[in-house]
Symmetry: C2
Amino acid sequence: MHNTPLGPVVPTDRAISALRPLPASAVRLDPAGLLGGWQERNRAATLPHCVDRLHEHGNLDNLHRVTGDFDGPFTGWWFADTDVHKTLEAALWAGNVSSFVAETVPLLEKVQDPDGYLVSYFQAGHRDRQWRELPSSHEMYTAGHLIQAAVAGARTSPADPAVQQLLAVARRFADLLTERFGAGGEDAIDGHPEVETALAELFRVTGHRPYLDLAARFVALRGHGLLGPEGRFGQRAYYQDHRPVREATEVTGHVVRQVYLLAGAVDVAVETGDSELLRATERLWESAQATKTYLTGGQGSRHRDEAFGDPYELPPDRAYTETCAAIGSFQWTWRLLLATGRSRYADELERLLYNGIASGIGVDGRSFFYSNPLQLRTGHDGSDEDAPGRRLPWYKCACCPPNLARLMASLHTYAATGTSSGLQLHLYAPGSFAAAGRAVDVATAYPWDETVTITVTAADDEPWTLTLRVPAWCADARASVNGVPASFVEDGWMRLERVWRPGDRVELVLPMPPRLIAPHPRVDAVRGTAALARGPVVYCLEHADVPTADFEHARSAGGDIPGRDLERTPSTASQDTHTAPADFERTRTARDDAPGAGFERASGVAFEDIRLDLGVPIGVRRDHPLAPVALVVNGDLSAIPYFLWANRGPGPMRVWIPLVPTTPPR
Amino acid sequence: MHNTPLGPVVPTDRAISALRPLPASAVRLDPAGLLGGWQERNRAATLPHCVDRLHEHGNLDNLHRVTGDFDGPFTGWWFADTDVHKTLEAALWAGNVSSFVAETVPLLEKVQDPDGYLVSYFQAGHRDRQWRELPSSHEMYTAGHLIQAAVAGARTSPADPAVQQLLAVARRFADLLTERFGAGGEDAIDGHPEVETALAELFRVTGHRPYLDLAARFVALRGHGLLGPEGRFGQRAYYQDHRPVREATEVTGHVVRQVYLLAGAVDVAVETGDSELLRATERLWESAQATKTYLTGGQGSRHRDEAFGDPYELPPDRAYTETCAAIGSFQWTWRLLLATGRSRYADELERLLYNGIASGIGVDGRSFFYSNPLQLRTGHDGSDEDAPGRRLPWYKCACCPPNLARLMASLHTYAATGTSSGLQLHLYAPGSFAAAGRAVDVATAYPWDETVTITVTAADDEPWTLTLRVPAWCADARASVNGVPASFVEDGWMRLERVWRPGDRVELVLPMPPRLIAPHPRVDAVRGTAALARGPVVYCLEHADVPTADFEHARSAGGDIPGRDLERTPSTASQDTHTAPADFERTRTARDDAPGAGFERASGVAFEDIRLDLGVPIGVRRDHPLAPVALVVNGDLSAIPYFLWANRGPGPMRVWIPLVPTTPPR
């Protein structure tokens, strides 16, 4: 057992590992910065909010039901215990052995069966179904989240009695899994991967090898049809049982299940020295990035089955891009960064954090998106779950809020790594970072400001390397050490090696002019558009900054105005001239022109009519009421960071903005 | 009871009605024409195929189970009886009181409860759930399809004993509904509308007013929350209980339920003289056409909940566009045509028939699409149901095949109408059409050929009007009567009034040069593309005509080749220069250029790389092995009618083709 507080994912010394996580105690994020602010908001708002919702929504009653202290019905999904476990994990990463932990852990021990089983849904009323419905039961998934809570406790407060009790509970469940499903036991897997990485982490905490072996076994058993034959909806991919991980050529099926599985596969690969499996996960990561990942880092193109789509199927409006999927991708990507040290993984962590993850939580810290689309249309049908217009305080399937809480609680541990040769900074935020007697303070207003000032606060007499990530979006990174330029960038890293002295000062400048991003030409859904970004932050236009738009236009007027849809001749009012050459369909004009044109005239400009004019420079605005840095486009429209959308009421939004076509020079 | 064979939808003499259907016996489609050929294929292939599948898939065993003649388990969905009923209906519209009818009707009578109830799932094993799960039970929906089969029998073979037995069975079920749910009874509706139009039709056949009153009551009870509170997935819209029909401003929710409901609402409106309700259905039709209908006439933008999307949410790849939805839209639209006589409804019937409906069935008549997307991507995941690459012989939810069978069996009755003042031709096909002593023969190779020759074969001495629909896609329709030009077009009709003599000959020419269709500028999903059409037929490109495309490219290569997806700089090889001005994102180039470029080079041209060059004329090809008329684009690529796709193996297809941007003149 470690004595130093640690964070998530601490590979053993024997693991394949290019970079090592820093002790949690060696990192501090300043709450004045964006990341530290998020962490503080998590502590002050999100965590208490989650605990309250668990009480309100019956998750704790479900546990009391097993011990006979509550006689109402079971509430929520059969995996409702996992929301308790994730909230426990979040509280423990926050270093906060609160009354919630103190009350809940003894309850869990009381609920647990003598053999270690602990899934309240099946324990009270559904004993006959125990272990019999693995494709859908989430029993191992539930065990996994219990184990991860215990791992968090063991890494942060190992001496605490409640933590020791929780670890014992988790180990009993893990031992039951090992006995029942380990080598020589039943060949079985859970329909929802998650337990793999939990078991690997528990091995790391306890040194008990059978946990790792079981994780490896679960990874190896995938893709052999153990969860039943292919169903109507392509269920084998949904359950991640379609193909062995090391043979798969693309990510597919249910996104959260896929990325959780691959995070577990990396853990298994690095701990067992299985470089072939590690390469398979890297290959899948590259494939996912190349053809199935949104600009926000989000993944999941289909609402149906919460799934990946085909390559290049990336609709902005029906992007499912579940918050949990982004968090799962973050976990997978972090593991690949530790294993390989490749900067593109750190880039992806940053992209996810400032976009696809941050969008999942409102500025109040108490409202959440389950799905994170890149566009909400004028006339959206208003269903909050199926494509949300506003963040909700909780969900019937409440996986995302406590998932955000546990990530935010441990956020500091992802900012930097250490090796014997130095310290590597991946995420730029004000705070302090230390490893093995080497320490720096960071001052910056990143990502709003391009300058990062790093001051060495502790060093030994040996030379070591301060490695700074240079984001791929940054074309002209430069640095100086004590005023002397030192800017060589290689493979996405700036490596500054010397004998450092306390007080040495590095100034890193990551120029972040506003950028226009063109979509990949095969992404049909956003052809003819561009997106705005500045630094790592993707921007969007939303209703509140477009006061002339008639947001309810299509909805209220749709029934009144006859007019053909798809065969309509683009009117001359449309500036989309590149799609309307002279010989285009004009045959409906005579009959439909009047009502069709009326449709345009009736209610002014709808949100969808906004076009981005490339002839107008993009400005920067620092007095926007919501965003520290807004962009100004088309002369007067404010674009805000995507992650800040939907904090000013529901309404249309879009990341990919149609272009005003360039006209031929005269 | 009528003595003349009739088709579906025969409003009473008191109904609001601009046009009257012709007696089924007064219409004959020549099997040498496309529509007549479909009808013949339906008789020879589809109908026997459906009967065989009902035996094979246990639908008949489910009925025998109730009578104790089968002791296996129930098979399929709880509404599996409806596939039997729809096949019965199809057989009866085909005028074919076959052994299937003769065997099945007595079985249904035997299965029926004394009180009239007849839903085999609930009758054997689930008695306790009868009438208790109306949101999902489909009990009235099942009753509706039974009734429609009986209506078909009563209209086509009223004297046949099996038909009389079937009508008695259907009436007993209808009487049970009337007693239980009629005025003074329970306020309740079925989660799946369908019974409304069936009851109205049964009223038309029997003259029994309570059936119509019940249909009116069911329409009026919608939108008041009778099916429970709003659920997680916006279930009230899914069940069509979100808003009263006459107040609704847009079509929404589950598409088939919506269009079936609105077809029933038209029946109720015209039979009760409720012009306000009729106007509401027209308004909803206009709204649907303006913002939620695909180029093929298909409806349903979302796989999830098989639902309409937001206005202008019309993705071609994830178009759900269920075959049954297109058939339901056809039924709704036909009713509006009869009620109003507006040509745009007839135009829509034609569009649906040659595109969104015809695509649902393979050239063999024995394979079917449930979903009819407008694009299938390179690297599609291959699941047949969730976005099909090939038509299947049957489906677990087999609603579509027998729905196609019943439409095709009655297809002749939709080609023309009659009024006291004349005859109206809506669908052009070789055959003969007659009403009230007036008759014409039609000769044409439409839709492949633009000329339609109509010869009067019977006439009286009074002047009457031969009305010819002029499709909205047709800019320069012209006609001659006995060689004398006569071409005045008004409101989409060419009305030729005179004292006709047998042998009088009308030549109608509907010029059909290939057309390029621009998408509505608010349909983001197909911006920067165009579609091809000729006459009423929408065309597509598919794999078999693009031999150089590497269809499995993305799938097989996806894992091997690193390369950023969305932030990739369009290479100079891409012709999509209008999305890549000089100041676009280029920062990833240095790091990713080599592998990114490799992605392009590795495997030649992928299907998605095809661009339509507007500078090249569109040709017509009449020697294509599959299509009587193919179009030739980009000099050598063949485009085939959309409805003929996927008859040559699975592979990529697209209707909307990206444009090669026009370059500035030098």
